[in-house]
Amino acid sequence: MSSFAAPLLRLTITQHERIVAHCYAGLPDEACGLLAGPVIGPLAQREATGFVSEVYPAVNADASARTYTVDGRDYLRASRDSEARGDEIIGVWHSHTHTDPYPSPTDVSSAVDPMWVYMIVSLRDDIPTLRAFRIRAGEIAECQVVLDGG
């Protein structure tokens, strides 16, 4: 068990489809994008509610099958758009083309924001699998993901 809680993440079926479609479209490279949603609570305890208001497909600036970097301008646009809605970027998603949907050592060492959700879509099998995590100081906690209608 991890020493910290991870939010329950609510994705709509449409958001899920957009994420998975972008991951397939990125093949053979890894694909990536950002998640936005409301954040509540006092400073230093601010917490995503787990509701996802928008998903933002982004360019993988690495154009690589092994690594990803969210294109900075895509991040800038997503950040502006989400803040104009009163939300924030609450996490990032990327694909694993041939491995489990679980954070790789690179994912763990690169995870800079302890409040973010790190979502991973595996395309290894015929049916894509999606899992989400919070990563703090090298420790991983899984977020339950619920798919809502819409």
Binding site: A44, V70, R73, L76, S104, T106, V112, D113, Y118
Partner: protein
Amino acid sequence: MAEVRLPTLLRVHADGAASVTAAGSTVGELFASVTAAHPGLADQLIDENGALHKFVNVYVNDDDIRYLDKLETPVTDRDVISILPAVAGG
């Protein structure tokens, strides 16, 4: 005064503010002003060699300062400077 927008990760170092205003004619001068007011931001923005930290991207309006004049990039009071962490993995 130019507006400097902070990512959520760094707001804890600026009393929770989403943006701060700062005076200066270059990005480097703005950062000096911002980090004087919020010392916790200094290590997040500038590395031990005085250069922009490699895990941080800085935009003047829509333009990445790495492709301009880095910390010497000129700014005016009408510019919006956005700081975003590099988001990457494998």
